[in-house]
């Protein structure tokens, strides 16, 4: 390992010509540094540029501008077969005319490995994904989960520096997907390989990643640890895309070194003492973002700051939680309450039409630039 970074993208742009003849940037000035041994996810909805970015690292596409570096080496137009990265495809792309063994051996034959060595390494790889004894099967004789493991083993048997995974769990059912998430994470930690993982599933990204790049419209919206991304989203898009949030429009009333007060017209009052992100100025139109689970709900006024009178308009019981929809002055907000007490106890929940008090805790309330 010669470089601190396993993979680096510097100002990468990828433009395509659409069928209508227009030029479109699928990836628009993306810069990311992915550290050795990191579990890194690119998260975004379809068309955000995550898969195109991954394909440029793999070498299936070449950047229109900028450069991709693998282990510190500029890749330029290096073809995929000369890059020390391997890919697990969304569709698995297992060779249907070959057995499981032949699928795994293919990559080793390309390296010119001897038969003895191939046998040993394929055996080890199959063991790693718990498919020992399946080597003579054809891919279509396997279940979806097993095929997924073969695809994983086929890439890992090459002992790449970097493993690229393009929504590898997308085709599995929910339960199997959750199992595989933990298994993949464990495997990554055990092998110490860099994983670059593309997904549109935020929960999946939060579960597995060391760091996440949230992408939209070809650009990285935010890069950080799962906690940073969730607790300190850097803009409204990220706050909205990751988890849920109540957004209240307002104007900055006063600004100190690290706190802001915002006048929110729909509450007809000021929300005070909130941490601020960089680049905000007094008088600026902003959005106040509050996660539903971060709002305290009470039936008595405790005379605290940022306490607002509200009326319950709807409640939805979800088992573990209850979603409570409230009107606060002119604003509509959603509050999430954990059902710590059984809902069978009538005192345990709020009813529609009930007057309640909401407490916004300033440290969990964010002031974000208006898009």
């Amino acid at each position: 390992m010669t470089s601190e970074f396993a993979v680096e993208m510097r100002d990468v742009v990828k433009r395509f010509i659409t069928p209508e003849g227009n030029e479109m940037a699928a990836v628009d000035r993306v810069t990311m540094q992915i550290k050795n041994g990191e579990f890194f996810s690119m998260l975004g909805s379809s068309g955000c540029g995550k898969t195109t970015s991954l394909r440029m690292i793999a070498g299936f596409e070449w950047p229109t501008e900028g450069e991709v570096y693998i282990e510190g080496n500029a890749m330029g137009h290096t073809p995929p077969f000369q890059r020390k990265v391997n890919t697990v495809f969304q569709s698995y792309a297992l060779f249907q005319h070959m057995t499981v063994y032949q699928n795994l051996a293919f990559g080793l034959e390309m390296e010119g490995a001897k038969e003895e060595e191939i046998k040993k390494r394929v055996g080890r790889a199959l063991e790693m994904v718990q498919l020992t004894g399946m080597d003579r099967r054809r891919p279509r004789q396997l279940s979806g989960g097993q095929q997924q493991r073969v695809a994983l083993a086929r890439a890992l048997v090459k002992t790449p520096d970097v493993l690229l995974l393009d929504e590898p769990l997308g085709a599995l059912d929910l339960k199997l997907r959750k199992e595989m998430q933990l298994e993949l994470k464990a495997l990554q930690q055990q092998l110490g390989i860099t994983f670059i993982y593309v997904t549109h599933d935020q929960e999946e990204a939060l579960t597995m990643s060391d760091r996440i790049a949230v992408m939209s419209k070809g650009q990285v919206q935010q890069m950080g640890t799962p906690v940073e991304i969730y607790e300190r989203p850097s803009n409204k898009f990220v706050a909205d895309f990751i988890g849920e949030s109540n957004f209240l429009e307002g104007k900055i009333k006063s600004l100190s070194k690290n706190e802001a007060s915002v006048f929110v017209p729909s509450l007809n009052t000021e929300v005070t003492g909130m941490p601020i992100s960089a680049g905000l100025v007094k008088g600026e139109d902003v959005v106040v973002s509050i996660r539903p689970e971060k709002i305290r709900i009470a039936d008595k006024d405790t005379k605290s700051n940022n306490m607002f009178r509200a009326r319950v308009t709807n409640t939805v019981y979800i088992g573990a939680d209850t979603h409570i929809y409230v009107d606060v002055h002119d604003a509509k907000m959603k509050v999430l309450e954990q059902n710590r007490i059984s809902r069978l106890d009538p005192k345990s929940f709020y009813v529609v039409g009930q007057d309640v008090w909401l407490l916004l805790m300033p440290e969990n309330t964010l002031v974000l630039k208006k898009d």
């Binding site: 299936f60 077969f81 391997n86 569709s91 792309a93 293919f106 390296e111 279509r140 090459k158």
Partner: protein, 298 residues
């Protein structure tokens, strides 16, 4: 169950279809055993085996081959052997060349975008929809003109002169077979996921190895059905061959046509029967391949 199944219309239609499709074939096969040399009416099988052929008028009374008299007669016919040899040589050569060109064309049309792509795609259909006789006259004109110029330019004489023969027939067959192969292979490629090739390259295979180890084996059933279709088309092509053949390049269809203009003995029927068997086997193989392919896809 199905109300149509018992409908008299369906039964009548079925009977008629089978009658018109298969009765001529059955008749043709039956007449190949005919004792009558004139072969106008069926006079019964050649009745007996003997050490030599005994004729009585136009009736064969006995023969060393018994009912298979005309097949033996056919085997002794050197012209037939030559025509069969020519037919197979042309069909095999043309099939191999047309399959290679057609497969490459299919891959190119599937994979790459180029300026004249819609035109190339459309031009594939022309040899298929154009009347064969037009194409026959076309290639004949082309060859005569071209050969005329070459012979004149290089002052060729005698055996060195370019003329119609095996080569011209083969080239013409390749020309009309390529579109068929291309269309069949293209249909197979339609469902081909590019990620298989990407996976191969990702695992370290260069472009050629990827084609050899992954792409080609995966499209092989399509290539095989394309090749077999082309082969059967070449085997019984008459019109184009008629215009482009020359001395020493008589194929079976041309030979049979020649026979018909003189006398029709049951030998023609015997020849046709053997031929039908060969083509049937080829078509059967084609079906088997396609069935297996379908099973793989489901």
């Amino acid at each position: 169950m199905n109300p149509f199944r018992r409908s008299p219309f369906v039964i009548v239609a079925t009977v008629l279809v089978y009658l018109f499709l298969y009765a001529p074939i059955v008749g043709l096969v039956l007449y190949s055993f005919n004792a009558s040399r004139a072969n106008v009416t069926f006079e019964g099988f050649v009745p007996a085996f003997s050490d030599r052929v005994v004729m009585e008028g136009s009736l064969v009374k006995s023969s060393p081959c018994g009912p298979f008299h005309w097949y033996c007669d056919l085997a002794k016919n050197d012209d037939v052997a030559e025509a069969a040899g020519n037919t197979l040589t042309i069909a095999v050569t043309a099939t191999i060349v047309a399959t290679i060109i057609g497969t490459m064309a299919a891959i190119a049309l599937q994979r790459y975008d180029f300026k004249l792509k819609p035109f190339s795609q459309l031009s594939l259909y022309i040899p298929i929809v154009i009347p064969e006789i037009v194409m026959g006259i076309g290639v004949l004109t082309l060859f005569s003109q071209l050969f005329g110029w070459v012979n004149e330019a290089f002052n060729l004489s005698g055996d060195a002169r370019l003329s119609l023969g095996m080569a011209t027939v083969t080239i013409s067959h390749i020309a009309f077979m390529v579109p068929f192969v291309t269309l069949v292979v293209q249909a197979r490629l339609q469902g081909f996921d590019k990620s298989f090739e990407e996976a191969a390259m990702d695992l370290g295979a260069n472009e050629w190895t990827t084609f050899r180890r992954v792409t080609f084996p995966m499209i092989l059933p399509g290539v095989m059905s394309g090749a077999l279709l082309a082969f059967t088309l070449s085997l019984d092509d008459f019109v184009i061959t008629f215009f482009t053949n020359g001395p020493g390049s008589t194929t079976l269809p041309i030979y049979v046509y020649g026979l018909l203009r003189r006398i029709i003995t049951p030998q023609v029927n015997a020849l046709s029967t053997v031929w039908i068997l060969v083509v049937f086997t080829a078509v059967l193989l084609l079906q088997l391949i396609q069935n297996r392919e379908q099973k793989q896809h489901s």
